[in-house]
């Protein structure tokens, strides 16, 4: 597209879209954000397509599963028709996308309820566990990572690295079993690994969906204590495994930064060591750690599925596990979209944080 000045009215009134774009482009940060947003949307579209077709090629026929083992051909066909499985795949996809546009993820074929409602019910359980585990992960890996970097090459570093390598090798479900065996079976410190509250204790009134927070909001100390009692062991188990790669990343990032020229300059002009570590090094090390936190998210979510299974925790991990078992396509798709969306949103937030911390991104 070329604009030739002084040749007509067109040039004096460029299209609204162009003006809009020009305005955005003149603010680098805004421009950057819009580009990131566009890319995120594109990725999401790709994920919808992949999620749909991947699950559609399932060799097992959901109608057969639903009809039960004793059903005859006729009954199966009836279910296929009812579930829309007899139509061409493209039509099914179009249907799915239209529903998606209306915020409708389809119906779960086992419970006959909308998938989005079921996910909404179960998400807080997963989020509560995940966030608790993440906080614990930071509490473990931040000091360990910094210590290992500052004392690199010493016995402290060696021990921390061994811990990290071992932590990366521990099968989460096995660790969970050991924890349950010790803390519940042997020592009776933890409650039985059965969901989020002891049977007989009512769920607190739903505000956030986090039982610990909701019970506090309701002023119900007993429920809070019970919720916390159920939460700590799975959260710590998960945190142990996730903090292994996190510690490694923090250590590597810190080591990298401590080796930089500007740290040497800061020392050469007499900046105290503590200030160098906590101000100069940590802030700079935060950047690479931030960019890899998608991986940590991956560990958390994948770990959650397993921990939920072992501790019978009624979150979305359990949900998808059950759905996969019976070819509950809409439920699986809903789960995939949910995870992908959260991941993409997370990445957007990371990018935003990134551009706030690092002036080289902000201003280029």
């Amino acid at each position: 597209m070329t604009t030739t000045p002084d040749t007509g009215a067109m040039d004096n009134s460029p299209s609204l879209w162009l003006t809009f774009w020009e305005i955005i482009r003149s603010y680098p940060l805004l421009h950057y954000l819009f580009r990131r947003l566009g890319l995120a949307l594109l990725t999401l579209v790709g994920i919808v397509v992949v999620a749909f077709f991947l699950t559609s090629v399932l060799p097992g026929n959901p109608a057969v599963v639903r009809a039960g083992p004793l059903a005859n051909e006729e009954r199966i066909q009836k279910y296929e028709k009812e579930m829309g499985l007899d139509r061409p795949l493209a039509v099914q996809f179009g249907d799915y996308v239209i529903h998606l546009g209306q915020g409708n993820l389809g119906e779960s074929w086992t419970s006959r309820r909308p998938v989005q409602d079921e996910l909404k019910e179960r998400l807080p359980a997963t989020a509560e566990l995940g966030i608790a585990a993440f906080v614990a992960t930071l509490a473990i890996s931040l000091p360990l990572g910094i210590l290992a970097a500052v004392y690199s090459g010493t016995a402290i570093d060696w021990a921390i690295r061994l811990f990290a390598t071992f932590g990366a090798s521990v099968a989460l479900f096995w660790l969970a079993l050991i924890c349950i065996h010790l803390f519940y079976y042997k020592w009776h410190i933890a409650p039985p690994p059965l969901d989020r509250l002891t049977i007989g204790i009512d769920e607190p009134p739903n505000v956030t969906g986090f039982f610990t927070i909701d019970s506090l909001l309701a002023g119900d100390i007993d429920t809070f204590r019970d919720a916390l009692n159920h939460l700590w062991l799975p959260a710590l188990t998960l945190a142990f495994v996730v903090s292994a790669p996190m510690t490694k990343m923090i250590r590597a990032a810190m080591l990298d930064v401590l080796d930089k020229d500007f740290i040497r300059t800061a020392r050469a002009v007499g900046v105290p060591f503590r200030q160098i570590i906590l101000v100069d090094a940590l802030r700079n090390a935060f950047i690479p750690v931030l960019t890899t936190s998608g991986i940590v998210f991956g560990y958390l979510v994948a770990g959650n599925v397993i921990v939920e299974r072992v501790f019978s925790w009624a979150g979305i991990g359990q949900y998808v596990w059950q759905a996969l078992d019976v070819n509950n396509l809409n439920a699986v798709r809903g789960f995939i979209l949910l995870i992908a969306t959260v991941y993409i949103l997370l990445n957007l937030v990371i990018d935003l944080l990134y551009s706030l911390i690092d002036p080289r991104i902000r201003l280029n």
């Binding site: 050469a268 002009v269 201003l363």
Partner: protein, 271 residues
């Protein structure tokens, strides 16, 4: 004769390389620096001149260890000082600028704040006063529009500009001994000339003692009064600059002199 400001005696430093082998990289380095002089330390890459400087600063990398030797500064042996007291000398008594000035600044901090931080450390001013003082120092270091430039981040500055910021930091330190390790390597020739003029001017004005590390005998001849020639971890010759060029004593120095290329004379082979 005046007392030397700094005297290095028989300094041995070993370095453990990646393969775990140790290698002696400084083999009995000894020389003195007298107050108010500009001393050159010249040598080729790997000769140990940067390691000598880092040893003076107590900033040797982890893998390097001082084996033996003494560094006398202000009547104290720096190597015998407790760690804490040695760090207290850094910046206030001895300070150092490095090559690759853009990498020598914290990329996440505005340069004005970096200078102000050093001012606060060494001159005990309040935040605002330190920032104002920092702007003055930046101006002294030859930066124009200081209030705007002080808000810049290092990546927005050219190498020459970044080196001026570092020089402003040195002005804030007002050290008795300033070490400059190849301060213009990587900068353009015309900018190099500007920076050297600035360093010379500041040295004369403040009466700071300067140890200039370089591989360029041209720089030595134009900036320094005395010079130590280093090769393979040893000091081979120490002399006044005029003497060194007129009558190089050590074979290595003589060899260096024979390889000099001069821009003001026709090439050797055509003579």
């Amino acid at each position: 004769m005046t007392e030397p400001l700094l005297a290095i005696e028989n300094l041995y430093v070993t370095l453990i390389d990646d393969r775990g082998k140790s290698k002696t990289i400084l083999q009995g380095v000894s020389f003195e620096i007298y107050p108010n002089e500009v001393m050159g330390l010249v040598g080729e890459s790997g000769s140990g001149k940067s390691m000598t400087a880092l040893a003076l600063m107590g900033l040797l990398p982890h893998r390097a260890q001082i084996h033996s030797g003494r560094i006398w500064f202000g009547g104290q042996n720096l190597l015998a000082l407790p760690k804490r007291e040695f760090s207290a000398l850094r910046g206030s008594q001895i300070a150092m600028i490095f090559q690759n000035p853009r990498a020598a600044l914290n990329p996440l901090m505005r340069v004005g704040n970096q200078v102000a931080r050093v001012v606060r450390l060494h001159q005990g001013l309040g935040k605002r006063a330190a920032y104002g003082k920092g702007l003055d120092l930046l101006q002294q270091a030859g930066i124009t529009d200081t209030s705007i430039r002080a808000r810049a981040y290092p990546h927005q500055l050219s190498g020459g500009m970044a080196q001026r910021v570092l020089i402003a930091m040195m002005l804030a330190c007002q050290p008795r001994l300033l070490i400059a390790d190849e301060p213009t390597t990587g900068l353009d020739v015309t900018i190099q000339a500007q920076i050297f003029e600035l360093i010379k001017a500041i040295q004369v004005e403040l009466g700071t003692t300067l140890l200039l590390i370089t591989h360029d005998l041209g720089v030595v001849s134009e900036v320094c009064q005395r010079v130590a020639v280093m090769q393979a971890g040893k000091i081979q010759e120490v002399a006044a600059v005029a003497d060194l060029f007129a009558h190089p004593q050590h074979p290595y120095t003589q060899h260096l002199m024979s390889t000099l290329l001069r821009v003001d004379r026709p090439a050797n082979y055509r003579e």
